[in-house]
Amino acid sequence: MKFKLLVSVSRSLLLARWKQTLVAAIGVTFSITMFIALLSFMSGLNEMLDNLIINRTPHIRLYNEIQPSKHQPVNASAEYRHHHNFISSVKPKNGRLEIYNSGPIMKALKKDARVLGIAPKITAQVFYNVGAIDITGVINGIDVEAENSLFSFHDYVTSGNYIDLKNIPNSIVLGKGAAEKMMAGIGDVIQVTTSKGERMQLKVVGYFQSGLQDIDKVQSYASINTTQKLLGESNNYITDVQVKLKNIMQAPQLAKEYRQLFEVEAIDIQTANSQFETGSSVRSIISYAVGITLLVVAGFGIYNILNMMIYEKMDTIAILKATGFSGKDVNRIFISIALTIGIFGGLLGLLFGFSLSFLIDHIPFNTAALPTIKTFPINYNPRFYIIGAVFSIVTTYFAGYFPSRKASKIDPVIIIRGK
């Protein structure tokens, strides 16, 4: 009952100055709209850029690294045991990049409930022979089907059919940049030389385009069998095991576990790509900062309008007090005016924000670097809407706080005597 009365008084005061109220509400609407659109767009962009990496990067990569020999003869000497020894006469030997026991490791990984899937891989350093010139390159030997199901391989094979890589023996999918340099068309046969000097002819069955130019100039894909043949290795030669997890957040911890369990090197995606996280978070911080600034400005608008309203409604406030409304009631009346502006403006802002995002989402955005993207990316995360709603209410509350306090302190005697 009492609440209803206060609301009805607020509404009457509001409607008596509906133009100013509308301007204040539009301020909130505008800032919330921009807040939502900006964050949705920024985070869509972040997500797209992250996906550029995340979708094609294993959550954990198991590999072998050539490491310095840990046992140096000088350490064995009793005389120098407690000295600082810096002589390292024994160099790393037998630089095998192969993962030992790759078969059992892969079997164990497949059984692990936390693992979504695995894809073995061989990285081979090669030279693409173009006439008299050799261009350095890398051939990734992949399990075509596993690679496709885990890392959407087919999205990035922009010409040709990715599955030909599996079905046609001695075939290769060339990086777009590399193919351009070699002027190799689909169906052409190119020649590569391995770092050990072996040569091989490979048939081009497609182009690969990752969106990262530097990668496309160097990398190509072949099937595991072809790569093993190219390197002259047996058919259990694997240099990398790529692991995709059900929960990406577990990667650092599992990488540590696998490192100990399988006695191989294991690197998680977070460690390998920390610079992307930094970029994303800086972009988010900037968009939040801009959005919140807009809201604060809108808050000042509300503050001004309430102050003006209180100044104009001195008589009304004095009368309300003289007839039995307490300072607290008056305070609540003005707070509820502020909140009404905030809620109404905020709701419209959420709606317009969604509409604007939707519009941006349909603006065509074609770039050669991003073959899978057709329109501007938008992230419709409900979180932005919740933050927007909460913020519009919080800022209007604070904008209303001081004017309302001022109103509640008005002394009716001074006003009534003043006449």
């Binding site: 009952m1 009492k2 209803k4 009365l5 008084v9 009457s12 005061l13 409607l15 008596a16 008589d315 009304t316 004095a318 009368i319 309300l320 007090k321 003289a322 007839t323 039995g324 409304f325 307490s326 300072g327 607290k328 009631d329 009716p412 005697v413 009534i416 005597r417 006449k419």
Partner: protein, 226 residues
């Protein structure tokens, strides 16, 4: 039906700005239930100041104020607001109606605030009060569509809505012409006689004062006759 409903005990008041002056000096008097009292005195003798203290709106005084037997000293702002709402009806020299609300709603507001009755019943009662004052036909108009005399009658209806112990008026006819003053005064007299309503009315109209039950005359912040 006798008993003090309002009692001023040694009420004094100073204004400190711009210089320290004492406007009220040891005011002592009481109002009985159903009594119609008028306060007269020269302009500037402190009548309004006294009335604002008696209405609990001004709390900056020494001495004590008893309303319905209970002291208003040391009460919190919200408690005073409640006392004003429930026990005192105030009529100002200027009508002071809220133009954002209809006449009916203006009369209802203190009743809705008190919330003894549900909204429907408050509305019913507001109509009754307007009828007593002969302006029920104006109920749905906005205050600024009424004449000065009508507005003052609406203000009286508003003062009556919670059946207060006492109605206070600070020169309620001061802004009205002779004819309208007469109407308002007749209303006060009717309220006093028919409804046994206590009234404490400040006026500069001695003719008016002569027709009340009791005259309190002030001079220089003191009561010289009562």
């Amino acid at each position: 039906m006798n008993g003090k409903i309002l009692e001023a005990v040694n009420i004094s008041k100073h204004f400190h700005d711009p210089v320290d002056i004492q406007v009220l000096k040891d005011i002592n008097f009481s109002v009985q239930r159903g009594e119609f009292v008028s306060v007269i005195g020269k302009s500037g003798c402190g009548k309004s100041t006294l009335l604002y203290i008696l209405s609990t709106m001004d709390t900056d005084y020494t001495g004590d104020l008893l309303i319905d037997g209970s002291s208003m000293r040391n009460k919190k702002e919200a408690e005073l607001a409640r006392a004003r709402n429930e026990k005192i009806g105030f009529v100002f020299q200027f009508h002071y109606l809220l133009n954002e609300f209809s006449v009916l709603r203006n009369v209802m507001l203190p009743g809705l605030k008190l919330a003894t009755y549900p909204e429907k019943e408050v509305e019913q009662r507001a109509y009754e009060k307007l009828k007593i004052l002969g302006i029920e036909s104006e109920a749905l108009k906005k205050p600024n569509q009424l004449s000065g005399g009508q507005k003052q009658r609406v203000a009286i209806a508003r003062a009556l809505i919670n059946d207060p112990l006492i109605i206070m008026g600070d020169e309620p006819t001061g802004n009205l012409d002779k004819k309208n003053s007469e109407v308002v005064f007749n209303i006060f007299q009717e309220l006093s006689q028919t409804y046994n309503q206590a009234l404490l009315i400040v006026t500069h109209d001695n003719e008016f004062a002569a027709r009340t039950n009791r005259i309190i005359e002030m001079e220089d912040g003191k009561i010289i006759r009562m």
